[in-house]
């Protein structure tokens, strides 16, 4: 017989309760990048907006940076690690396919035995995680969900590749998502375009090392078709951002902040124009001193916008992540 199953009971809505970030101690200026590629500080600044980035040292592992960022996010939310009842980690630069790094992070935080898993969604990983977290809180399978975006992209950077050597950085950002009485995370507009899977990718799969002489195989790195990705970002992603505003019933005038994935300053500038964002909207430009940190970029930029007073708690922000897949996800949120 089909017995009656008791439904789970979630919160009416979800919100971001706290945010935290970790930036590696070593700051790498453009001059250092120029040791390996034929370029110039001027070119890198005008084409990408990047002047410095952080590269992690041996102690600043994916797990270590995550624990640091998560600890700050949990404290910012006014909670303790025991309150966390799910841990989602978005990353592409944790080098063990199994087990997920999320379980180690949960354990090291002292979060007890929460469900914990990793998300592979490139630079949209954080916004994918945010969307899952919102669903978990409102559906009732978790009350407080920790969402971490963390990368050590310097490990996956070919320092001699002119197209990418200057772009990537390392770091971790985290938020805690929990219950809310009012809507504070709008509908997510998300998707994938697998026909463009080749435009950003890891050069080689890990199994090329099977049976190969390591000296014959260059370590895998992230490569991209820069112009194709740029075109997609400025054209398609501006539309997705607009759809997220529409879905939330918010006009550009009502926004206080815009926190796009920090891929390239030129993409950010182009999106501002396409969305016709008014002057009063605070725009995250963390890329200048952080580079592109993939899934960590949005929480890191959010943390900085709040820490520098450019945005404040309760402000309305548009977030959009996009990257390898190609994948994307955008939503309007209330800032913690």
């Amino acid at each position: 017989m089909t017995a009656k199953i008791k439904p789970s009971k979630g919160a009416p809505y979800a919100r971001i309760l706290g945010v935290g970030g970790y930036r590696p101690t070593r700051v790498v200026p453009n001059e250092e990048i120029l040791k390996y590629i034929d370029s110039s500080d001027e070119w890198i600044r005008t084409r990408s907006g990047i002047s410095t980035r952080h590269w992690a040292g041996p102690q600043e592992t994916v797990a270590e940076m995550s624990v640091e960022a998560a600890g700050k996010a949990i404290a910012d939310a006014g909670l303790t690690a025991e309150d966390v009842d799910a841990v989602l980690v978005a990353t592409v630069s944790h080098f063990k396919q199994t087990p997920a790094i999320a379980t180690e992070i949960a354990h090291r935080l002292g979060a007890g035995k929460p469900p914990a898993f990793d998300i592979s969604a490139g630079c949209a990983g954080f916004t994918y995680g945010l969307t899952l977290a919102k669903g978990m809180v409102t559906e009732g399978s978790a009350k407080y969900v920790l969402v971490i975006g963390v990368e050590r992209l310097s490990d996956l950077t070919d320092k001699e590749d002119r197209a990418t050597a200057f772009l990537f950085g390392d770091g971790a950002g985290a938020v805690v998502v929990g219950p809310s009485d009012v809507p504070a995370i709008g509908p997510t507009v998300w998707g994938s375009e697998g026909d463009k899977a080749e435009t950003i990718k890891q050069t080689l799969p890990w199994d090329v090392y099977r049976g190969a002489n390591p000296e014959d195989v260059r370590f895998p790195a992230i490569t991209q078709e820069g112009q194709a990705v740029f075109r997609w970002a400025v054209y398609e992603m501006a539309k997705v951002a607009q759809e997220a505003l529409d879905a939330a019933g918010i006009t550009a005038d009502e926004l206080d902040a815009f926190i796009p994935h920090q891929a390239n300053m030129r993409i950010i500038d182009s999106m501002i124009k396409a969305l016709k964002l008014p002057e009063h909207v605070a725009v995250a430009r963390d890329i200048e001193t952080t580079g592109n940190t993939s899934s960590a970029s949005i929480p890191l930029a959010m943390e900085r916008l709040l820490a520098t007073g450019q945005a404040k708690s309760g402000d309305t922000a548009l977030v959009i992540g996009f990257g390898a897949g190609l994948v994307y996800a955008a939503a309007v949120v209330t800032l913690p």
Partner: protein, 82 residues
């Protein structure tokens, strides 16, 4: 209705003005986007995207490389517009 060469150049001038801040009257057929108009490779992508919308053409990445001057772009659009 398909645009004439004159209309295309006028449209391109407006687009280049919007994206790179170049005065409309400087955008002439013989001008090179990168050398004369300060449109770098990424601004060129933005120009192309805007031109596609405005003139209802598709300009694939591979063809963008060949559009060195305003005249090249105008000819391309003239030939390919729907």
């Amino acid at each position: 209705m398909a645009a004439t060469q004159e209309e295309i150049v006028k449209g391109l001038a407006e687009i280049v003005n919007e994206i790179a801040g170049i005065p409309v009257e400087d955008v002439q057929l013989d001008k090179s986007f990168t050398d004369d108009l300060d449109v770098d490779s990424l601004s060129m992508v933005e120009v192309v995207v805007a031109a596609e919308e405005r003139f209802d053409v598709k300009i694939p990445d591979d063809d963008v490389k060949n559009l060195k001057t305003v005249g090249d772009a105008a000819d391309y659009i003239l030939k390919h517009q729907a």
